[in-house]
């Protein structure tokens, strides 16, 4: 595995505000890497720095082993970018828009025509290829944006908020498309503020907060680290009071969420133990399950504690 993106001490200031404050990031080839964080936490600025579309105040960037500031054309030839709320020339058709991109990328026209048909089929826009983009829905525009970056056979695709504002079905379609690209060996970096959505497709994520990367790693690993490897078990039972039944277990906190429903937080998977005790006490167990920790929880928990530290310091 080789690094596709490497940044060291990346800083970007706009006047007095610091948008990106010392980012060290390594993305390996073939990864689906998520940049997560709320709006204004420096994700888009980081992306622009990676593409050489804005100059860093300090620090270094290497993309595919190249310097985007000094070899911008070489970088942009191999990196595809889908901006936040991508725009197209409304009066032109989908095919014409792509053909303009192909000419900008310097593709020969016969080659370009073949590739355009190819990528339009890939994102399933062949039927509307000759319709003006002004008639396109948001989801179709996003797919056209993907076609635009496939056109130059990008090795690295950078997607800024690809699913923002999409309906659930279009989101699902787009995520499947992104996963298909990843299977084809394209390294993908995507940013989002919807943590739960990204969790399902990213191999690794970086959590951004106020221009810094707070956490970086695999989703399950982050969950374990931040939530301290705790298990959250939800149980519904009748005729038994779990709080008193489980009172003697060490490291288990039982909370009554609503009548007949409890939440147990523990260090291990206590499901068999809980079931045994409920049955043993003559109650009926209606359901019991382990709740998957979501990135949202990780995020909230991590930055809560960080804010706490900051306040204490």
């Amino acid at each position: 595995m080789s690094a596709v993106i490497e940044t060291a001490g990346l800083v970007k200031r706009y006047g007095r505000t610091t948008a990106v404050d010392g980012i060290d990031l390594v993305v390996e080839r073939g990864e689906v890497f998520g940049l997560l964080g709320p709006n204004g936490s420096g994700k888009t600025t980081t992306i622009l720095l990676l593409l050489g579309l804005t100059e860093p105040t300090a620090g270094t960037v290497r993309v595919l082993g190249l310097d985007p500031l000094r070899q911008p054309l070489a970088v942009k030839r191999r990196v595809g970018y889908l901006p936040d709320e991508v725009g197209f020339y409304e009066r032109l058709t989908a095919r014409e828009n792509l053909s303009y991109s192909a000419r900008l990328a310097g593709l020969a026209s016969s080659d370009a025509r073949r590739r355009i048909d190819e990528v339009l089929a890939r994102v399933r826009l062949t039927e509307v290829a000759d319709r003006r983009v002004s008639t396109f829905s948001h989801g179709m525009r996003q797919r056209l944006g993907i076609a635009d970056l496939l056109l130059k056979r990008a090795e690295l695709a950078i997607l800024d908020e690809p699913t923002a504002g999409l309906d659930p079905q279009s989101t699902q379609e787009l995520l499947e498309l992104i996963q298909a690209l990843a299977r084809d060996g394209i390294t993908i970096v995507l940013s989002s503020h919807l943590l739960g959505m990204v969790q399902t497709i990213c191999s690794r994520v970086a959590l951004f907060s106020r221009g810094r990367i707070g956490l970086c790693g695999r989703v399950d690993q982050l969950t374990a680290d931040v939530l301290g490897g705790r298990y959250v078990i939800e149980a519904e039972a009748e005729g038994a009071d779990l709080a008193s039944l489980l009172g003697d277990l060490p490291d288990a906190a039982t909370v009554l969420e609503r009548p007949g429903r409890w939440r147990v937080e523990a260090k291990g998977d206590l499901r068999p133990e809980i079931a045994r005790r409920v049955i043993g006490a003559g109650g009926t167990l209606q359901s019991i399950g382990l709740r998957q920790a979501s990135l949202d929880e990780v995020y909230a928990r991590y930055f809560e504690t960080e804010a706490g530290h900051a306040k204490a310091a």
Binding site: Y14, L48, L73, G87, Y89
Partner: protein, 319 residues
């Protein structure tokens, strides 16, 4: 450390320029403006030709009168062009860059393997291509109309003067295109940049000739007993009015299309000693007469484009 960037800044230039030109040629906005120019210009020329046919006179440069003669209440063809060419250029350029911002296409286009230089220069060139096509068409139409209605072919000298006039008009429109392009970079809203460009246009087309004497009067007070103050006043007034590209264009068309024009400034009686008044100048002399104006206009164009260029290079592309 060497901070040289690799790759040519001209990569993609032709693609951008041709796409811009094609966009303009098919846009309703440009069609409307061109229709306005075409109708007014042809109307003016038609009226002028009627006038020329009625007043029989011997004139070596009868054909050039088609361009310059005004037939009340219509102004002359060059008068119309001086007034309307800026409008065409503004229509072509006022939303060049901020339009891309608002359509959110800028970051996508700039993520293609081209430099920003290519985008800006390409947009400017695209506008120039359209202006050139329109001017040549208009010029051929007017010349053709003249030949048809007057039954008189233009002489070689008239053609040379006509071509020089075409070049002057092209540079003049180029200056206004650069103004529009600059405003499209400075202002984020296309409506604001259009209004700003139209304001500058109105200032120079209408108000500048009224303001110039006032400013000159504020700089030099004319003393009735001292004639040199009157000369200084007149010279200041000329200098100030020449800030306006419209004024420079007017002077150029005057010298080019009215060959008897011998000077574009103050003339003293002593300088007219032994001059043959009304005798035309040869083409080369007329050209050297307008040389400073043409050079000044090209300089204005280059300065405006450079300011636009630097502003655009330093701009952050995120909206």
């Amino acid at each position: 450390m060497r901070r040289r960037r690799e790759g040519s800044p001209f990569t993609g230039l032709a693609a951008v320029a041709l796409k811009e030109a094609a966009d303009h040629m098919t846009s309703a906005r440009i069609h409307l403006v061109m229709l306005l120019v075409l109708l007014t210009a042809l109307g003016a020329v038609y009226a002028t030709i009627g006038e020329i046919k009625q007043t029989f006179s011997e004139d070596q440069f009868l054909f050039l009168r088609v361009f310059t003669m005004a037939q009340d209440p219509l102004p002359s063809f060059v008068g119309f062009l001086g007034f309307l060419l800026p409008l065409v250029a503004i229509a072509l350029g006022f939303d060049a860059i901020n339009g891309e911002y608002n359509r959110r296409t800028l970051s996508r286009v700039l993520s293609q393997p081209i430099y920003r230089d290519a985008l800006l220069t390409g947009k400017y060139l695209g506008g120039l291509i359209v202006i050139a096509i329109c001017l040549v068409t208009l010029w051929l139409l007017v010349t053709g109309l003249g030949i048809l209605l007057l039954g008189l072919p233009p002489s070689a000298e008239e053609i040379v003067r006509g071509l020089a006039f075409l070049l002057a008009s092209f540079v003049y429109a180029g200056v206004w295109l650069a103004v529009a392009l600059l405003f499209s970079i400075v202002f984020r809203a296309p409506a604001t940049s259009a209004l700003a460009a139209l304001t500058v246009w109105l200032l120079f087309a209408i108000f500048w000739s009224m303001l110039a004497p006032l400013i000159a009067g504020a700089i030099v007070t004319v003393d009735p007993l001292n004639p040199t103050t009157a000369v200084a006043h007149a010279e200041w007034q000329t200098a100030i009015s020449r800030i306006s590209p419209n004024m420079l264009y007017g002077e150029m068309t005057l010298a080019l299309l009215s060959p008897e024009t011998r000077t574009l400034g103050l003339v003293f009686a002593s300088q007219l000693h032994q001059a043959l008044l009304g005798a035309p100048l040869p083409v080369s002399e007329s050209l050297s007469l307008i040389w400073p104006q043409l050079a000044g206009m090209v300089a204005a164009l280059v300065v405006l484009f450079t300011i636009a260029y630097v502003t655009f290079q330093r701009q952050e592309i995120r909206a």
